[in-house]
Amino acid sequence: MAVLMQSILSGILIGGVYALIGIGLTLIFGVMRVINFAQGELVMVGMYVTFFLFRGFGIDPFLSVVITMPALFILGALLQRTLINRVLDALPQNQILLTIGIGLVLANTAMLLFTSDYRILSTSYSSSSVSVGGIRLSTPLLYCFAITAAITAALYWFLVKTDVGHAIRATAQDRDAAQLMGVSVRRMGVLAFGLGAGLAGAAGASRRPGRADVLHLPASRRRLHSESLRRRRPRRDGQHHRRDARRRPDRHRRIAQRLLPRVRLEGRLRLRHLPRRPVAQTLRPSRQESHVKTALFWAVPLIALLLVPIWLTSPYPLHIFILLFIAVAMGESWNVLGGFAGQYSVGHAAFYGLGAYGAFILLQDKHVAPWYGVWVAVAIATAVALIVGSITFRLRGPYFVLASIAVAEIIRLLALNWKDLTNGAEGILASDLPALHFGNRLITDWNSKTPYYYMALAMAVFCIAVNFLVQRSKLGYYLQAIREDQDAAHSLGIPLTIYKNIGLVISAACTALAGSFSAFYIGFIEPQAVFGLDVSVQVVLICIIGGIGTVTGPMIGAVVLVLLSEALRANLIAQGLFHLGLPETSATGMFLKENLAHAHVLIYGILVIVVILFMPDGFVGFFGTRLRRRASR
């Protein structure tokens, strides 16, 4: 009984902090209809500010709320004015991606500046506690609750009693009406975002400076990971392969850690259809255009790619090509659902991971060769997709996005905890692939990258072909109609759920295929690396950067992302800057050289922000429109 009471009370006290974060989130959503996925990062910034105030000036963490809150208010207001304001009329999905981008930038900047080490803040009362009727409550937690309660009360007073508070609430109820009543809706947006960020800051400042408080920051599981890597068997392909395998899961973890707190959401959310800006995006060749020309256009690069391994035998370039093909396959897979049907799934890691785990487990436990196992895995992913689809497709817009994230997280946690099957967080290391025979002829024993190259190429071409076929079929028309206007589509006789599910199934199956392949290529899987939110985000990024809803978009996006991340990894950018005359020995030079290689997630974040703000239709939309305009001149 006492334990129960203890848990309940502690829960309530800790809940106070979450409530503060939640209130900030609802305030932002209420006033601007923007779901702020960077709220967790703002909390983190608040924590850092508090930490450094304590470290540098000895200011008590609870006292520092007075500084942290205004500081975060300013940061929030700035973010709103410079970035969020520009996308208020955009699709809710784009708004979400923008805030995800902001989150990535904030978290990775923090990681570059402060590294991913834990910072521990302990005060004189850190481990003290009070005893009330046999129940012990930690003092810091009590203080913390008192402060959050006070802030909440103050906010309530502000919103209910003051003129500005009225204006904010009016804006939340009806933007247009508020504007007509003379409320500066823009300013209210800035104010709301500032307040929301300020609350996050306060939450960060007061968050449990209890038992040696830990800043919840990136890569908290880094140690664990390096252990799992030590157990890795050395790969045949030597250096490049290993380097890749090490970085990938590591990067996965780092991003994911930062993304997790974002999923907590509170408050009553309401859907609102925002007006869409029609943008020239039809890149489909017109009917009259000869099919021969189109075929040639695609055949030439395909033949070139088929010949690549003949004159390119060193593993590294082939490795990059393989990564590229995987990225293309993933992007094109997502595009069927996200691009054509407009259902922005940020949970495709679920299918990617199911493909990877399915085929891996079959090989490991049942000794099923991957080229059979893959199809079983794809079937499993398809089945899961159908279940997921029938549940989540009741939701629209941002709610679907959130639901898709939740599904991937559930499956990730399942993989993490179902240890008998998945080996938990330690992951599974692929055993040697059995040699592939055709009749009696040995086709490959997987000792070089060339077979992987051709398989990846085949997979990418397959996914591209799927997109082509979808786009030109009834299914493609129906999916696009659903993307443009669900009610209109419904009224034209389109059964929404059925078609959305068809889109999801195709998309999930292709994603699972890509997941299986890339898992076998890397040779090691663990829940975070394949089910992590960052996998899902990366897939979306490929399409967003290239151009959603087009067949070429994901290809371009994949090229941009893969080349960029490889360039960063190989430190090409820093070296380029040195060539341009940046002194290598200067402080900046040293810093860049040291850190740029780890900054690819930061660069992704910046890329997302830039793309969403300046070319919401991706490279294809951006340059396509420009080219057409020039042509028509």
Binding site: K474, Y477, E484, D487, A488, S491, L492, I494, L496
Partner: protein
């Protein structure tokens, strides 16, 4: 006399305590144009939503070709042959005008090629054939309304429901649409139109149903309705003399 194409029987629709429709009953005969009029908030669009399956009626029955359709989903209703346009136009903005109509035409065919032909024919009917490769989102309002009609026609329906296709249009554009409704009528297609412009209603409709505060106030030929004093009061009383 054959059974009516559409029978609306004692249909009521409540939103919480609000009675959007109460006990509305009327029939639509094959080939006729029925006008549905009433002051703002009379429940016309709600009735359309009930008939086309967007929300099921709280009470009452709706029969199409003698079969119950209340409670069916919108896509099923459309497949049975009843298609509607939207008062607030809903173009598929990033698709071309032709592709908008193709989406409608695909209801009855699997072949995109066939659908293109059907779609093209319907665009000709409404006079948008020359604009077929324009993006629907860039059309001016008058043409968007026509596109709505073309898209609905492309589903090859037995009956269409037009929700204020003339709303917000200038005199010339309205004239175009009146002509369009009359043309469609000549082709034998049954229509239910919601409209505010009495002149347009009188010119196009065979029969008129007047709704007021969710209930059917009157029904009759255009002549009867125009001379009905209750209709006058309803309009003048509720909307202060302003024609909405």
């Amino acid at each position: 006399m054959t059974a009516p194409l559409l029978e609306v029987r004692n249909v009521s629709r409540f939103f919480g305590g609000v009675k959007a429709n109460l006990d509305v009953t009327f029939d639509v005969e094959t080939g006729m144009v029925l006008g549905l009029i009433g002051p703002n908030g009379a429940g016309k669009t709600t009735l359309f939503n009930c008939i086309t399956g967007f929300f099921p009626p709280s009470r009452g029955e709706i029969l199409f070709e003698g079969k119950r359709i209340d409670g069916l989903s919108p896509d099923k209703v459309c497949r049975l042959g009843m298609a509607r346009t939207w008062q607030k136009v809903r173009p598929l903005a990033k698709l071309t005008v032709l592709d908008n109509a193709v989406v409608g035409a695909l209801l009855r065919t699997k072949s995109v090629k066939d659908a293109r032909e059907i779609a093209h024919a319907q665009l000709k009917v409404v006079g948008l054939a020359t604009k077929d490769s324009t993006l629907a989102g860039t059309l001016p309002i008058g043409e968007r309304k026509k596109l709505e009609v073309a898209r609905v026609l492309a589903t090859q329906p037995k009956m269409i429901l037009l929700d204020e296709v003339m709303g917000g249009l200038n005199a010339r554009e309205s004239e175009d649409l009146i002509q369009l409704i009359l043309d469609i009528k000549t082709s034998g297609l049954t229509q239910v139109v919601i409209e505010h412009d009495m002149k347009a209603i009188v010119r196009t409709c065979d029969r008129i149903v007047v709704l007021n505060s969710g209930e059917k106030l009157a029904e009759g030929t255009p002549q009867q309705i125009v001379n009905d004093p209750r209709v006058m009061t309803a309009y003048l009383g509720d909307s202060g003399g302003a024609k909405a």
